[in-house]
């Protein structure tokens, strides 16, 4: 095996790699990431972009619908919800940054990432998916205000189509995020099991203890959010008829 070490020491370390400068550092920061942490971070960034978009609809709507009390209230409620979701999103993002800290040992890094992605990420995904509703509904209201100057009465079919699009967008957003993370969880599980059988067993035991309760809460939140959305649609229907 000493031959291997000699062979290793014989590698020309600097062949074919350019040095880096300040500009390269700036390029790295803007570049697309290929690590699990980087990919999850991208989901958060996308969510924050959506939230910004939602604010861009809600804030002008408060002005545009100032004469229509019910619609103004719907916007205001969505605005308050969005503020809450933004705070929750930031909380989950901070938790994620702590979990994904690569400056710890591999075992700690993989275990905390696994714990976060299995237990906490579903909450973050629900919040991110709900943002879609907070952007979609005010987006429609904004469109009508800008295009027609008032909110046109909807037909029953229009209500059904908008409800369908809203719910479909929310559910598919959630499912896509969870599916992409499931793939990463699998990768981490393999690495942990390669690291040490005990490491995976311990991490899994910890996660399993809390996961069932988490799963129930996530489903409960989803049902409440969807009922809330349908409630808003019903209110909208009553206002416009």
């Amino acid at each position: 095996m000493n031959d291997l070490r000699n062979g290793w020491g014989n590698i020309d370390e600097f062949a074919g790699i350019p040095g880096i400068g300040i500009t390269s550092v700036e390029k790295f920061i803007q570049g697309r990431s290929l690590s699990i942490a980087g990919k999850v971070r991208a989901i958060f960034v996308r969510d924050f972009i959506f939230k910004t978009l939602a604010y861009l609809f809600i804030v002008p709507n408060l002005f545009l619908y100032r004469d229509n009390q019910e619609i103004w209230m719907i916007n205001a409620i969505l605005g308050v919800l969005l503020v809450v979701f933004t705070m929750l999103g930031m909380k989950f993002f901070r938790e994620f940054k702590r979990s994904a800290d690569p400056a710890r040992s591999s075992r700690e890094n993989l275990s905390s990432l696994l714990d976060y992605l299995s237990r906490r990420f579903p909450y973050a995904a629900v919040i991110a998916a709900t943002t879609y509703l907070c952007a979609f509904l005010p987006g429609i209201l904004f469109y009508f205000a800008v295009a027609y100057g008032y909110l046109k009465p909807f037909t029953t079919e229009t209500y059904l189509v908008y409800s369908f699009i809203g719910i479909l967008g929310t559910i598919s957003g959630y499912v896509l995020d969870i599916r992409s993370v499931r793939h990463h969880v699998q990768h981490i599980r393999i690495c942990l099991s390669d690291l040490n059988d005990n490491a995976l067993a311990l991490a899994s035991q910890n996660i399993e203890m809390k996961r069932k309760m988490d799963h129930f809460i996530v489903i409960l939140i989803q049902v409440v959010i969807l009922l809330g959305f349908l409630g808003v649609i019903v209110i909208l229907k009553n206002v416009l008829t």
Binding site: M1, D3, L4, R5, N6, G7, W8, N10, I11, D12, E13, F14, A15, G16, I17, G19, I20, G21, I22, S24, V25, K27, F28, I29, G31, R32, S33, L34, S35, I36, A37, G38, K39, D101, P102, A103, R104, S105, S106, R107, E108, N109, L110, L113, H183, H184, H187, I188, I190, C191, D194, L195, N196, A199
Partner: protein, 167 residues
């Protein structure tokens, strides 16, 4: 090493001093030049993000190996549907100082590439002549576990190398 200041200049200087290590890690975890460059960039990015919180509680090299190896272990390949890349032999994207030993080095890389990601990290640290204490700190396993794992990995490598030589 003293605690580095959170300046880009210091970071760039430290990267310059340690790019050989990062380069070797990239070679361990990739199979072609494009992936190697991507991973090099990813590791540099993670090092930069973590650099601000480096507090010199551990040796700089331990910190660097932790960040770089954790990034390499948890990296997933980019989807390359649009770009056709030529898949090189994993042993072909490096150069050796002594061309007489090139064959041995190529064989070593071929063999190492057949190990799982964690074993690659452990053997890399051993090849870098790190103490068991440091390997244990980087990987988060006990020193006795490091010792046992290294025996197993070396056995595995010997067997792989034998198979490769027979091919």
């Amino acid at each position: 090493m003293d605690q580095p200041k959170g300046h880009k200049g210091t970071f760039v200087q430290l990267m310059e001093e340690n790019r050989g290590i990062i380069h070797k890690i990239c070679m361990m975890y990739t199979t072609n030049q494009t992936d190697k460059e991507d991973l090099y960039q990813e590791i540099s990015l993670q090092l930069w993000r973590s650099f601000k919180s480096y507090r010199a509680e551990s040796k700089f090299s331990t910190w660097l190996y932790r960040v770089a190896l954790n990034t390499a272990i948890s990296s997933v390949r980019k989807d390359r549907k649009r770009v056709q890349t030529v898949q090189l032999d994993q042993a072909e994207h490096f150069a050796v100082k002594d061309s007489g030993k090139e064959g041995m080095t190529r064989l070593l890389f071929k063999a190492v590439s057949r190990l799982n990601r964690v074993d690659r990290a452990i053997i890399l640290l051993w090849l870098e002549e790190k103490e068991y204490t440091e390997i244990s700190e980087v990987m988060g396993i006990s020193q006795s576990a490091v010792s046992v794992r290294l025996v197993r990995i070396r056995e595995k490598l010997k067997s792989i190398i034998k198979t490769l030589e027979d091919e």
